[in-house]
């Protein structure tokens, strides 16, 4: 049976089901329910919950737990997610698996506690230093909060990388029906690369620091990094196509905004307008395969997202290969279905200005 759950709670329960037994983080709206839920749920299953003194402590405790092979998670939003960036870079350099959740709020600085999609660049382009990349999943429903949180833990271990779940205030705060899968048991001792105790010596027990120092010859490191990220880029692109087959114009949208776009596609089709949607599920790697597939047939892409200037639209343009790209950054309010349809009309009439 499906049960009604709030997005943040469902995400937290999914972490438990994935075998996550360590969480460290700090409250901030609109993600606080994740902490609240895990503060009681983790001890019930023999896990550890720590409400840390800061986000810095939270991400670094996750680094420590990950180094011992435990499935570990932290979550935040807005300025709190910014504070985690250094830690994400370190986790990347040590090649440790971890899941970091950003329930996006709106705006720069403190911003506003309401929903937004302003952290695309930060999550997708490497919010911390050094040029690492992380898999980034963008759930668009409470069910996907469950599904992609579980997948995130698996992928984090498969590639030994931090994985970001880029949720938002609406997906976190809303309640929907969800089906929870069976839980998995996780054995933290099954990996060769973890710290296991004082008797474990290198190279069996690793030195837990940036891999650049001990694990690679001087000239081997860069090829290793390139191979690592190109494997993720090639294999992990995920997206959903909605009515794209005969589409004249395709909306590109993720997360909460994609739900408005789904309605717009339906309304446009009812009026005989051939509108479709590509919904990136992974934001990194961006589903360029989906765009390459449709470039030949589609007349234009319209990127719809909830920030002031447009961020994802840059990636759409990068992979559009000459197909005109238009932008509708809806700012601090969620995109409006009628406005989308109006812009689509403008594009068809040739009166809309291209994004770049």
């Amino acid at each position: 049976m499906r049960t009604l759950m709030k997005g943040n709670n469902a995400l937290a329960e999914a972490a438990i089901l994935a075998g996550c037994r360590f969480f460290a983080g700090y409250p901030i709206t609109p993600q606080t329910e994740i902490l609240e839920y895990l503060s009681t749920r983790l001890p019930e299953v023999g896990g550890q919950f720590v409400q840390t003194e800061s986000e810095l402590a939270g991400i670094n405790m996750v680094l420590g737990a990950a180094a011992t092979g435990f499935r570990a998670m932290t979550s935040s939003s807005g300025p709190g997610f910014s504070l985690k960036q250094e830690g994400i870079s370190y986790i990347s350099s040590m090649e440790l698996p971890a899941v970091i959740v950003d329930v996006m709020r709106y705006g720069i600085g403190l911003g506003n506690i309401t929903l937004g999609q302003g952290d695309y660049f930060q999550a997708v382009k490497g919010g911390g230093h050094g040029g690492y990349k992380t898999l980034v999943y963008a759930p668009s429903s409470v069910q996907e909060n469950v599904d992609y949180t579980i997948l995130a833990f698996d992928k984090a271990e498969e590639y030994r990388t931090p994985v970001i779940i880029l949720s938002d205030g609406a997906i976190g705060q809303m309640a929907e029906s969800v089906k929870l899968p069976e839980g998995k048991e996780h054995d933290p001792n099954k990996f060769e690369w973890t710290l296991k105790g004082k008797d474990d010596t290198y190279p069996n027990g690793r030195k837990m620091t940036d891999r650049i120092y001990y694990d690679f010859k001087y000239t081997e490191y860069d090829p290793h990094i390139r191979d690592r990220y190109s494997a993720m880029e090639e294999n992990e692109q995920m997206w959903e196509e909605v009515e794209t087959e005969d589409a004249e114009i395709i909306l590109v949208a993720y997360g909460i905004t994609s739900r408005v776009c789904r309605g717009a596609v339906k309304a446009a089709r009812a009026n005989g307008v051939k509108l479709g949607m590509i919904r990136p599920i992974t934001l990194w790697p961006f589903p360029k395969k989906a765009l390459h597939k449709t470039n030949k047939t589609v007349k234009a892409y319209l990127a719809v997202e909830m920030n002031a200037c447009g961020q994802m639209v840059e990636d759409v343009a990068l992979y559009a290969q000459g197909t005109p790209v238009y932008a509708y950054p809806s700012g601090r309010v969620i995109a409006d279905q009628e406005e989308i349809l109006r812009i689509v009309d403008e594009i068809r009439a040739g009166t809309r200005k291209e994004a770049f």
Binding site: P30, N112, I113, T114, V260, R262
Partner: protein, 179 residues
């Protein structure tokens, strides 16, 4: 079928829970449902509201533009959401609190003095459940037993209130059915 609800009132009146119970009832009938609270810079004593959608199909945006059913527990809620009402919509108010509902077009206004109705059955905490009873009587969304089952299920951890809750539901239902 897709029905769009707004539940609005003062913070503390249990309006978010009322919406959640309706969403819960919808979910139990295997409908697609969304529930989302407004959670901006709200203040104590200010207005709170939530939006519920119940549909046979996958729901797009969880936000409401045109309201089928508005459940209003205070005056500011009516003023705020009246412009968004569908022409054939229903406004359900607790008339113990809301005294003046402006009429507009064909919008049906259902008034129930839920506070007094619940005082009569000595269950003053039951106004929200009473309102759900009224909602069941003035819409044909689900059968009465779906609501009763849903309320019991929602409060499964508080079985001591089952009897009172169902009495409040029945009182609200009867008040509107008789109307």
């Amino acid at each position: 079928m897709e029905k769009q609800f707004v539940f609005a009132g003062f913070g503390g009146q249990g309006i978010l829970t009322t919406g959640l119970i309706i969403a819960h009832i919808g979910a139990m009938q295997d409908k697609e449902v969304t529930w989302i609270p407004s959670y901006g810079a709200e203040m104590r004593g200010g207005t709170a509201n939530c939006t519920v959608k119940i549909s046979d199909e996958l729901i797009g945006s969880p936000f409401v533009k045109k309201i089928d059913i508005l459940v209003a527990m205070n005056q500011p809620s009516i003023d705020k959401f009246l412009p968004q009402m569908k022409d054939d919509g229903i406004i359900l108010v607790n008339s113990s609190i809301v005294k003046d509902v402006p009429r507009k077009g064909d919008i049906r206004v259902v008034e129930i003095p839920a506070t007094e109705v619940c005082e009569k059955i000595s269950y003053s905490r039951g106004t929200n459940i009473c309102i759900i009873g009224a909602l069941a009587a003035c819409t044909d969304l689900f059968g009465k037993e779906c609501y009763e089952e849903g309320i019991k299920h929602y409060f499964a951890k508080k079985p001591q209130f089952h009897e009172s809750n169902l009495a409040a539901f029945q009182a609200g239902y009867d008040y509107v059915a008789k109307e």
